[in-house]
Amino acid sequence: MTISGDRSLARGSWLSAVFAAREAKLIAALLLICIGITLREPRFLTVSNLEQVVLSGTLVCIVALGQSLLILGRQIDLSVGAMVASSAFVSASWLAGHPDASLVYVFIIGTAVGLALGAGNALLAAGLRIPAIVATLGTLAIYRGGIIVYAGGQQISATILPDAYGDIASTRIAGQSPLVWIALVLTLLLGWLARNTRTGRNIYAIGSNTEGAEFAGIAVRRHIAYLFLLSGGLCGLTGVLWGARFGTVDAVIAPDLQLQTISAAVVGGVSIFGGSGSVYGAAIGAVIFVVLQNGVQLLGLDQFWIPALLGTAILATVIFYGQLTKRSDARLAARRKALLRREGRS
């Protein structure tokens, strides 16, 4: 098993380690896609277009962080879209009722909703040891149905929300929307935590070999509970930002978010078997998706082409990584064989 971020594997200089990292290849792929789109349609490189691309990437990116950490720990969360919708609707409707209240409360309410729903997932998956994929399949139906019933077909539009709420997305700090900065800080923070803290390494260990981790004295269920809580909290935060970005909120927003985030993680090199990959990769994966989507629109292709292209991209990357893993496994096996032979001789 290769664990990206394992320093012992990165031999040689600091520079060669950077080039060897999977993230470097991902960024190269991203640049290639960007160059390809630009050659066909120079409008891609205009500041206003790039701003739009980055802005649409942020929301998927934040949710993909939690999703990728879950996948690293051999879990999965299918209920993210429903959690984002719940948080967005509950916080926006509260704000519509209290237009003079401080925006801090909106963030607290949204994140609390996300955390509570995440706690539900944690209870099922970690507490009752129900496989994550079926547990979150059930909560997906419950959360989405719950918020649709709660909303009763209502839609909260920007006109009844205070302007300050929308300003969260539209103001600029150092030339970028605060959304972009939030996503960037969260990516760097979570990526660093996952690689450099004990809890983070434990999550990699759980993903590589759950039983082994348990025998090594890691509190597996507690870590899994943390992961689901984190995913819920990030979804809650995203819900609040979603309302700020789009202005209009109803109960059926973000229907495909689970697929988008899982795809972002997979394209970003996170192994679906857990234990391998990085949070940074998932964030880059999310950006690749948004760039592809934007490219389709710019090149004047039909909207209908987007899912087919995304599907092809997912298949191409998993096949590519599959071949890559196979080759590195074979190389490891050969090295082990050579080592054994040498030991036998001495």
Binding site: L124, L128, R129, I130, P131, I133, V134, A135, L137, G138, T139, L140, A141, I142, R144, G145, G146, I148, V149, L259, I262, S263, V266, I272, F273, D302, F304, W305, I306, P307, A308, L309, L310, G311, T312, I314, L315, V318, I319, G322, Q323, K326
Partner: protein, 326 residues
Amino acid sequence: MKVSSWLLRWESFLLLNLAATLVWGAQASEYFLTASNISIALAGMIPVALIAIPMTLIIITGEIDISVGSIVGLCASAMAICLEQHLPVEVAMVIGLAVGTLCGIFNGVIIVGFGLPSLVVTIGTLALYRGIAQIILKERGVNAFPGWYQQLGFGTIGPTPIPWSVLIFLVVFAGFGFFLHMTSGGRAIYAIGNNKEAARYSGIFVERAVLSVFVACGTVSAIAAIVLTAYLASARSDTGVGLELQVITAVVLGGVNIFGGSGSLIGVLFALFVLAFVKNVLGLIGMTPEQQDIVTGAVLVGTLIVFGAWRNYRDIKTFFARRRVG
């Protein structure tokens, strides 16, 4: 087999569940136990029920197919294109079946050929197949289906209240049931799910078996597409969106281990009955589809809790036993 161990089987629990649902339905509405209502309840469930059969086999081998809803959409779109070209509906059906089978082959070849996890591959084809359906049919809806075709959806056999689609389901169910529970090929499916490597060393052609279940799933999804378009009397590119969730819910509720290796088609059949009647009763007492979804999700989570509690109970007992010793 001892009576107590038979009672503790998952299928018995589901039967109890089913009986409770029937009693509850009869209490809730006087229309529930009428022949026409039961016929409606069953006919509405058939597309999900059909796909649940091969999905059971796929999950028992330890794989999963998320793309079934999209296969249904692509088959429906292909048939719609045929009808738009004024081809006879029989030709459209054959083409639909061929498209479904091809989708299954494509899934299977990528999963087996490259040795990739089926979850990711079918997430990819979920987007791909739906995308192709949208590209070929755009936003059009086609409803030029002849009358006899629509009979496949909810028409009943002669004077009996049994829908034609139930007959199709029973044929498919019997075929797969015989294969899974009475042939060596079926035992091989369980063996693969329990331990792929051991199965390979026992001389089972693992790759061939996995490929076949995915192809079978594609073909049956095409049959489901025919039944669903007949039931809705229309074909669109978004036909069957979200079907995979209902199918997997039914299979898991039927007691099939999501990690493979165990489960039975009888359990899945009971689960399908439970789901069909629960939905029907909820509709009769005036719940909206969204509220029905909550209940379906709660049923899934609730049964899993019961399922999990069984295992946890043992753990808790050993935990306390250890405490007493220490």
